[in-house]
């Protein structure tokens, strides 16, 4: 009888262990040196919670939202501000910043990158980071963030922070 109980207990213990097994994983957070600081001193880091940033940034020029494909809860948002725009997406604990894109020369990155600057100046400004070439463009990676710098005719036409 004792043996029977032991085996049944073991069975139930194994079952409980299986039930406790969780298959979730979520990359996130921002351990990157590549962040954008807005003119009103709000730091926008890819992977960081978006709620505080949206509040601090104040009025946007426009805001678009879209449901996720597949009926999952939560929406994606695109906030457009003067000089840049920020995309957010739902994550486990609320909206996170998933992309920041500079849109004109009224703003600069902390390293001094801005839309319209020459390629040589851009490369010099980013010399402390290692660049990866993608076509004519350059991608800098730090932690979980990539900074994509797009060039056309020898000048910067795009500066985009995305998840690595």
């Amino acid at each position: 009888m004792k043996t029977t109980l032991r085996i049944l207990s073991l069975t139930l213990a194994l079952l409980a262990l299986t039930l406790c097994f969780a298959a979730c994983g979520n990359k996130g957070g921002s351990d990157s040196k590549l962040v954008f600081v807005t003119p009103n001193n709000v730091t926008l880091a890819v992977g960081a919670p978006a709620a505080d940033a949206v509040t601090t940034l104040g009025d946007w020029v426009s805001m678009n939202s879209s449901d996720s494909c597949g009926g999952f809860s939560g929406k994606d948002y695109l906030y457009t501000y003067h000089g840049f725009r920020m995309s957010t997406t739902p994550a486990k604990d609320g909206q996170i910043i998933c992309k920041v894109e500079l849109t004109d020369d009224s703003v600069k990155t902390p390293e001094g990158l801005f839309i319209g600057m020459s390629r040589a100046d851009a490369e010099a400004a980013m010399k402390s980071f290692t660049a990866e070439k993608v076509g004519d463009n350059l991608v800098y990676t730090s932690g979980a963030t990539k900074l994509q710098v797009v060039f056309r005719d020898g000048a910067v036409t795009g500066i985009i922070y995305v998840a690595a």
Partner: protein, 360 residues
Amino acid sequence: MENTIIKTPKKTLWLRALCIVIALAILAAIPAVLTPILMPKYLTVSKEGSLTEEYYSAVAETNHDVLFVGDCEIFESFVPAILWEEYGISAYLRGGAQQLVWHSYYLLEDALRYETPKAVVFNVYALKYGEPQKEAYNRMALDGMEWSSVKAEAIRASMTEEEDFLTYLFPFFRYHSRWSELTTEDFTYAWKDKPAVSDSGYLMQTGVVPADTQADYTPEQLIDYTLPATAMAYLDRMRALCAEKGIELILVKAPTNFWRYHWYDEWDAQITDYAAEHGLAYYNLIPKAYEMGLDMATDTYDGGAHLNVYGAEKLTRYFGEILAKDHAIPDRRGESDIASVWQRRVEAYYDRKTAMESRE
């Protein structure tokens, strides 16, 4: 000191062995019993997850001359009931939420185990993705597939780094944590057939949320506009599979173009070149939206990302004519066997439309 050896009686050994067998049987039986309860039913939430499995009962009824494969721009855009009603075309949509090109390839290969259509229409938007994106989309596309070597290959091609093949083989190990989210629906349909959420793969939406036509949106710049090689390799495989079976492959881009799902001119040029190089028809329907009568103030349910039923019907009438005239897809309305199946399907489509409209 005297050693005493206690012999275990044979009867006790048998009893222990029996206990082990019973314990193992319980271990195997519990997942087997619980899995049908724990598996998501995709009836009220994320209905798209039901689309893959609904195909099998449809193809058991009748074959189809056209199979559409692709992402949400397939199952929200083309209405097989209208194709039948207007052109006598027997068609089915094997589309899914963020169905990537390898999902589409394997769902097509899977379908070809049951039937050989005259044409396959593939929506090209998903070619922008070169890597698996999200486990939830894999589950919605793959869990409903019937088991075969095709499904096994589809899983291997689709898994994200965090996923494990065994959880597809034994879904209990993936869904055990759903026990706290179970609803009546999970018990009702654990061992019972679910009602169809789609009409031949078309997932109806009757809501109207106008697109903001005043919005001045410039699409984001991309670091590289080259469509990923992995995705294009699956398009090659799809083309080869169709050629091997004597099926015409037709490429299409649905007429929607939205800030979040933007179709770039650079991508369009690559697909145009690909189609020309391989002698395929390619229809970019974005510039044809006005011609087919689409009005994004009334024909979208989510601000312009996808068409609602009113937009989808307009698009289907437009594209059905192309299929009938330019691709010689036959009109089968005079064939009584297939016509009786489609009569039921068309009635079901309008019943659903009436019911959904009355709830709006």
